[in-house]
Amino acid sequence: MEFLRPVSLGEALEMKAARPEAVPIAGGTDVMVELNFDHRRPAALLDLTRVAELAEWSRDDSVVTFGAALPYTRLINELGTDLPGLAIASRTVGSPQIRNRGTVGGNLGAASPAGDTHPVLLASDAVVEVASARGTRSIPASEFYLGVKRNALEPDELITSIRLPKATGPQQFAKVGTRNAMVIAVCSFAISLHPNESRAGAAIGSAAPTPRRVRQAEDFLTEVLDWESPQALPDSAKRRFGELVASAAEPIDDVRGSAAYRKHALAVLARRALGWAWDAYREGERSCA
């Protein structure tokens, strides 16, 4: 196995163009597991840890852009205030060791339906920036996941950064797992309130072949939420929202949980996360007023 170690993004893209079969490795927390269990045996690994551009971030008034190879620990510490939903999800990934190495770019590259950052990226209108020697593309998160562990990358492309709006309202992420740490989600849910657009984004993970947005449930919120003079949400509305979220799921029975349980738990997570987010929004409005 060859180990390619580019030191700049340009060099990385050239190497990827020359060796499209080379497997990028960032934190390695997915790749090394696959190699260890002999699930794949790539002819070459393309190490991204020396490419400084990929671990940088920048922000302006409304948008945060961070490199694909920025480890979770840094993302939580340095960008947690601007991206609260992503920070909550990142804190649930693995263990401190995994968060020191693992990256959002790797989560996207692996495109596991259970990846914890996906629902947040979907709910928050993230855009995945990709590049190849041929040029660059911006892929909205909602178009990035194509199937179980399949994404929209071309063989010669690398994910360079993730771009998403700074939070303008409360965001929540919730996941069900058997233990409190080091656990792959049985199902997960994210919601981001976008008060400036009078709408909310919501998405589910580990409950369908790909992470997915729950548009019907989002539309329902557009109908029932009064952003100008926010009222307490009736239980019936939260429950309805939960049902709509669950109805968007197409879960399977597997070792981690049954389809029935996943649907049920998603409805509960969605109802509660909406409650927390909306209460936080009302709280914020009250203290602003």
Partner: protein
């Protein structure tokens, strides 16, 4: 030289072995490297049951670095070697031969079929995939009841059955109590329940490793084992290596939990390969292989019937077990359920009792001892039943227990299972636990949450346990057909400079013997703690031992140490008298000094040691040595006990369980080192809680282990554990001079039922009266759905 002032026993000393164990700068087996050493890798069967049609090793032989590729035909051409089972529980027990490497048939996924010896571990591993094995599928049987059904596929065709043995204890027949069938048919109330003890993986921190050196005068085996002494005897008997030509060393060992009470095919394989090639070899397994092939634990189905009067006096208990042995019998596997047989009646005065256990073969990894071995299963069943009975009778579960337990003034008490509990005080431990827990306050909160229909309900779980440990009186072991005794040995060597070498036959693998044993000897001989070195685990300097398991080391091995120390003093006394020019009868010994009674003339034990070494001026005819050995065989077990109370919050919508508080008050008798006791309790609790909430080894229908990594096998982390509130009562054991009881397994035994009782208590009003372990969010939710129906 000064003697120690305050007693060492009872001091919360930091463990002297920890620095080297924690940093890993020590002699783990895998750290051993010998000149010319080859590395072994084992090819394992991916099939749970198949005939081996052919094995082609030719391509693997040509791989770089490969020295040999060997199969059963090379290592054991006549198919004579079989792995030992030391516990034939019945005369007619079926015990299929377990080969070192499978020759004609594989019986569980993970069984070894070939071994590569190469110059590096990586080369050995790489060569494995060039071995071609052709298998022919055989039908797989995984479920115990299916295995016992008429016409079931057979794990071992030649046995004609999947039943290994049936073992029965009946109090009516034994004369220790009444007839249980009668008690049940006469009962005002009776309850029957089925519990499943899921399969667990011991998951010790250090995967197993063995190094064998055939180049010296003896065949030397280093192994990451709990039982170097037993391994030596068993290796001699299994391979026919004369015992005196065999040296076994357990260097530092990174945990075992029972998982290293085994004689491994890999250990035998390494010895055979080393002898065949004339070179030292090393085998170190991967974590994945450890999960798959190190023996598993528990895996029983328990059918329990309890009978009682309306006012809550238990009148009878009947236990029918199925115990999954896996594909073969482990070293003590068949006897594991028997260690529970005497414990189902627990702390209660039950007049009639019957226990029957059927050991069953399936196409899975073998099961054998795992922390608590038999006793957690028994304690779980009876403590769950007591809660169910309390619910049935509408009584407080603590009150029901109190009504039935042995009162402190009734000891010694001979139970319906025939054991005599020497001591205990269940009232005191329970009272203390209730206070620390705020039992009444939590019951009130529980009522309030039920009344307000809180989605998060509160449950209170109780477990009042005892266990038999300090294994074991040799005669009792003999009566149970166990293949060895239960004594332990100790030697104390007084060095010329007054330092002390202590050799123990127990074999620490993380328990802290070096510290605790030093504390005991420091008090006995009055020498400073720092002047004592504890040696263990090498048959060259410690030829006698029964090793470490069953919470035995302190109660049995610690006692041997006391006896040896007393002998040292007996030998030192005449020398001291001679040095002080007085009569032996005028000597008294305190604080490390022999003093002439009523004077300030004295001589220290360490000075006596020097005088004996020099031997210039000793009493006439005196044999110039203070060194002493002792062997202790206990007359009875030790019976730690305690009361564990667990409050859980159960999210009835998601099924998530979180432990809100956990209080345990244990009575482990006299405490040598409170820090070590605390550590043992904490670790035990974590493991017991993990069985209740997290861990389960699962096989798919083809017999493949689907929980073979820590991503799927849910060992708990610190984030899953509550802050434990621990306390102790101290009722000294009367079965050993130190007054100590075992503590290594107590936490594991007690905690599992406390947690499950708590979870069920939280949702009992929703119609739930059982949840299968582990109580994962999904299982809890499903139980609530089922209850609501």
């Amino acid at each position: 030289m000064t003697a120690t002032a305050e007693p060492e026993v009872g001091k919360a000393r930091l463990r002297k072995e920890d620095a080297r164990l924690i940093t890993g700068r020590t002699r783990w087996t895998d750290n051993i490297t010998l000149p010319g050493m080859l590395h072994l890798a084992v090819l394992r069967s991916p099939m749970a049951h198949a005939r081996i049609v052919s094995i082609d090793t030719s391509a693997a032989r040509d791989m770089p670095g490969v020295v040999a590729v060997l199969t059963a035909t090379d290592l054991d051409p006549d198919g004579e070697i079989g792995m030992p089972c030391a516990w034939p529980i019945t005369p007619d027990m079926r015990h299929p031969r377990r080969p070192v490497l499978a020759a004609t048939e594989v019986n569980f996924a993970g069984e070894g079929v070939a071994v590569v010896a190469a110059r590096s571990a990586a080369e050995a591993e790489d060569a494995l995939e060039h071995i071609e094995v052709e298998y022919e599928d055989l039908p797989v049987v995984l479920d115990m009841e299916a295995a016992l059904a008429e016409g079931a596929p057979l794990v071992h065709e030649d046995l004609g059955t999947n039943r290994s043995a049936l073992w029965v204890f009946d109090s009516g027949e034994a004369g220790t109590g009444g007839d249980v069938e009668q008690a049940i048919s006469d009962a005002e109330v009776k309850l029957t329940r089925r519990f499943r003890q899921q399969r667990l993986i011991p998951a010790f921190m250090e995967p197993r490793s063995t190094v064998v050196d055939p180049t010296g005068p003896q065949l030397t085996v280093w192994s990451s084992t709990q039982i170097p002494h037993i391994l030596r005897v068993m290796t001699a008997m299994t391979l026919g290596v004369p015992e005196h030509k065999l040296r076994v060393v357990a260097p530092d060992v990174g945990g075992g939990f029972g998982g290293k009470i085994a004689v491994l095919p890999e250990e035998m394989m390494a010895a055979l390969v080393a002898r065949k090639l004339g070179k030292p070899v090393k085998w170190t397994e991967s974590r994945s292989d450890a999960m798959l092939t190190a023996h598993h634990g528990r895996d029983q189905i328990q059918d329990i019937t309890i009978s009682a009067t309306r006012d809550g006096m238990v009148t009878g208990l009947k236990v029918d077990l199925l115990a999954d042995m896996g594909a073969y019998l482990g070293l003590v596997g068949p006897g594991v359920p028997l260690l529970g047989a005497f414990m189902f009646n627990a702390i209660y005065k039950i007049p009639a009792y019957r226990f029957a256990c059927t050991n069953v073969f399936t196409n899975k990894t073998l099961t054998d001892a795992y922390r608590g071995a038999g006793r957690p299963e028994a304690t779980f069943a009876i403590e769950r039943m007591m809660d169910e009975l309390a619910a049935e009778l509408g009584m407080d579960p603590l009150e029901l227990r109190e009504k039935n337990w042995i009162r402190h003034d009734e000891f010694p008490f001979t139970t319906v299972a025939g054991l005599t509990y020497d001591s205990g005080n269940y009232e005191a431990a329970t009272e203390r636990a209730k206070q620390l827990f705020d039992y009444d306050g939590l019951r009130r909160e529980q009522q309030a949450r039920r009344a307000s229909n809180d989605p998060v309900q509160l449950g209170i779980g109780i477990s009042t346990y005892t266990e038999m440990c300090g294994l074991a009186p040799s005669r009792v072991l003999g009566s149970l057909a166990y293949g060895a005794g239960g004594w332990e040995s100790a030697s104390i060597r007084m060095l010329p400079t007054g330092k002390v070498e202590v050799v123990t036959g127990s074999s620490a693998h993380g328990q802290g013997h070096e510290t605790a044993w030093s504390q005991i000897v420091a008090d006995q001989l009055g020498v400073p703690f720092e002047d004592i070195e504890v040696l263990h685990g090498d048959t060259q300097f410690s030829p006698k031992g029964m090793d470490t398991y069953g919470s035995r080391s302190l109660a049995v091995g610690g006692t041997a140490l006391v006896l040896a120390a007393r002998r040292v003093l007996d030998k030192a006394k005449p020398v001291a008298a001679h040095m002080l020019e007085c009569s032996v009868d005028d000597m008294e010994f305190t604080g490390g000094k022999f003093t002439v009674q009523g004077t300030d003339q004295s001589v220290g034990i360490q000075d006596v040691a020097l005088a004996v070494f020099a031997a210039h001026d000793l009493p006439d005819g005196y044999e110039a040595s203070l060194d002493s050995d002792a062997t202790f065989d206990p007359e009875n077990f030790s019976y730690p006990h305690g009361t564990h109370l667990c409050a859980t919050e159960v999210d009835t919508e998601t099924g998530r369980v979180s432990i809100r508080s956990y209080v345990c008050v244990d009575d482990v008798g006299k405490v040598v080192n409170p820090l070590i006791v605390e550590g043992q309790i904490h670790g035990g609790l974590a493991q017991g809680i993990a069985q209740a909430l997290y861990e389960e080894a699962v096989h798919d229908e083809s017999g493949t282990l689907t929980t073979g990594t820590f991503a799927d096998y849910y060992l708990p982390s610190a984030a899953d554990m509550p802050t434990f509130v621990t306390d102790r009562t101290e009722t000294p054991s009367t079965t050993n001079p130190l007054g100590v009881k075992g503590v290594g397994e107590a936490g594991t035994i007690a905690s599992t039922p406390a947690v499950v009782n708590s979870v069920i208590d939280a949702v009992r009003h929703m119609g739930v009266d059982d949840i299968e372990m582990p109580c994962s969010p999904m299982r809890v939710w499903q139980a609530i759905q089922g209850g609501a129906r």
